[in-house]
Symmetry: C2
DNA sequence: GTACACCCTGACGTAACGCGAGGGTCAAGC
DNA sequence: GCTTGACCCTCGCGTTACGTCAGGGTGTAC
């Protein structure tokens, strides 16, 4: 039987942590002294060992409780779920690292890209975003592979051009919107055409299906909606209507 | 000028989040209506864009404030620091993934390794741990490379043998400790010998310097101390003394 | 007897909000 | 002019995994 302090020193954690584990019923000392001191048995120490192991894997204490209190069969499932979560985290971090590298490169070149521009890149014109969405929502692995293959060879100048083309399309759209042109009018259709061709040339072969899918996404997915909505409130919806109209008119 | 609800919809975040950003002074609406409604200008929206961009990179709000309020020159430094932090996180996740895979493999094979055993592997006998520590603390890249080269070819049976050897060394140590043998007595020296040879055979060429370094680590680093302290309280310190004594005696 | 190390139970603070509670505001419709 | 619904406001508590006092009892050595 060991007191909290002893156990804390052995395990390399704090007394407070042990109090906490006791509070939430994760590791409860099997005994108390006459004066109320917590007394941990060898079995308690083993339980603590298990907890610390899983904690080191990044699991939340609640999840650890589940695992330890689960039957042996369920453990594999819990561990697998944990693994998946970690893998997702890793992918996220990888994406962040790529974005940060871009931001750093831009900042260091003194090209004075402010964060607003970076956000546009990140949200609207980053092919990795597109790839991800395209692949995930339509399982269109062809488009994904095509995009990956093409963009792999793009230079910094290519990217600048692509960004300019994207901005030109956005500006045409804004102009039509500001002029009060209906979403199925010629100016709006022209903006859609610019956008369509830009993607078709730079990323992957556009199809009406993909265009309509993207149109939905622009209003439904906040990350995309934001890009258009902050240009002009209502622009995301307008763009979607324009895409739908243009696709249905067949004049592309 | 937009109200909170509008801005929230545009940006794809919640009203509460905007309230929070206001509270901590991250994005403060530049105006209020007569009735106290928050009113966001275009400039406020741009600021929000920047915040959301960095937030998507995983930065904490406090850190975002620093970046946005920093001069252009400092930004690069802040971004770089952020990048480093992310890279560290990534490495951590990679290590967790490897450990989880091991745990899963063990669990699926039905080899009935319980978490206590896994912890021992993780803490005391996982070569990747050793590699990391050895490399980091003594910059001994030779030992690191040697270990990596050797362990790459080990089979599951090898690992079982190695683990058994490690346990044999621990048991000899515990026996000496329980018997009350001094740390510089023959039984203790014998345990150190077993331990030394096990590492030497299985991981990398042992040297007195590395042995003394490891000895320090076993008491100073909780992850290692835990392994020994939970076997017997005081064992980590005893082991260190035994290693020191054995090295100094020259009888290895 | 008292000093010092150890133990106890609250209870507040952390980051980034979620989720109500209780109560004004605004535009539309009757 | 009044109601209805959709807004908006400001508290204020809950979340995770503890850190950090605060106030007070316990154990042991000198």
């Amino acid at each position: 039987m060991h007191t909290v302090g002893e156990v804390a020193r052995m395990a390399g954690i704090t007394v407070r942590a042990l109090h906490h584990y006791d509070e939430i019923g994760l590791v409860t000392p099997s005994g108390r002294s006459a004066s109320g001191y917590r007394l941990y048995s060898q079995a308690d120490l083993r339980r603590l060992q298990e907890v610390l192991y899983f904690r080191e894997l990044g699991m939340e204490l609640g999840a650890i409780k589940e695992v330890l209190d689960a039957a042996a069969g369920d453990r594999v499932a819990v561990l697998r779920a944990q693994r998946e979560g970690l893998a997702r985290k890793r992918e996220l971090i990888d994406r962040m690292l790529r974005a940060l590298d871009e931001a750093l490169a831009a900042e260091e070149e003194g090209s004075l890209v402010d964060a607003k521009d970076m956000l546009e890149v990140f949200d609207g014109f980053d092919p990795s975003e597109y790839e991800h969405e395209v692949r995930e929502r339509w399982g269109s692995t062809d488009a994904y592979r095509e995009s990956a293959r093409r963009t792999a060879r793009y230079t910094k100048e290519d990217w600048a051009r692509i960004k300019a083309e994207g901005e030109a399309a956005s500006e045409a759209l804004i102009a039509a919107f500001d002029a009060g042109a209906p979403a199925d009018s010629e100016p709006a259709r022209e903006a859609v055409r610019l956008w369509w061709e830009q993607i078709d040339r730079n990323f992957y072969t556009m199809t009406p299906e993909i265009a309509l899918g993207l149109a939905e996404m622009f209003v439904a997915d906040p990350r995309f909606a934001r890009t258009y909505e902050t240009m002009r409130p209502g622009l995301a919806g307008y763009f979607r209507e324009a895409i739908v109209a243009a696709v249905h008119s067949g004049h592309l």
